[in-house]
Point group: C2
């Protein structure tokens, strides 16, 4: 489930940014694993939303938001996720980078709301 980005809370919260280059081996298996991992990510406590897109070079960019760093750590250590990471490195993935970051500020704008200004977050 994609949670609309404008429903995310005010910071602070956390984000995990995945940049993933598939190896091209067994694309069906990779897609199935991806789908399962996304479902698992969404079922973790603290899940706030995500965005997924394909980059021009065919890599996947997945940005997943969590309420805190501990939620990200729990998800990384989930037994099913550990198996997927292992299989991914053996078969499906040519390269990846995961970045865990602390969201400190957010600014937003909506043309159809009263808040039609660049609205800084509280911090």
């Amino acid at each position: 489930m994609i949670t609309p980005y404008w429903t995310r809370p005010e910071p602070p919260y956390h984000v995990a940014i995945f940049t993933i280059t598939p190896s091209g081996t067994d694309p069906e298996g990779y897609a199935a694993m991806n789908e399962r991992m996304v479902a698992l990510a969404e079922s973790q406590p603290g899940y706030l939303g995500r965005e997924s897109a394909v980059l021009p070079d065919g890599s996947d960019l997945v940005v997943i938001y969590y309420a805190d760093a501990e939620s990200i750590r729990s998800w990384k250590q989930h037994p099913e996720h550990l198996v997927a990471q292992q299989l991914g490195r053996q078969k499906w993935l040519a390269r990846y980078r995961v970045e865990v970051a602390h969201v400190e500020r957010a600014y937003e704008f909506a043309a159809d709301s009263d808040a039609a200004e660049d609205r800084p977050g509280p911090s």
Copy 2:
């Protein structure tokens, strides 16, 4: 210029995540503004790289990495960027959210390197 994601340094560094929904008005003007803003972002001191993709709903996801929060602040306050933000809100943009985050940890993997393990960053 897209800098390959695997060339980013070890954390800490900063990231600005833009989720942008165009209004549909003047798409050529929006595209030209986007291109100019990306060039401006890349010319800022501290620029480390970026990823840009289109989300399934047609919104743009742009992730720009900088060495520090000050670089992001300078870019946000660049006179040309301020004009673009103003015009964007008046014409090109239905909605956006910008999140500024501190990258605390990174993990990476490359199948073709010796480091064929999930390698945690230094922090």
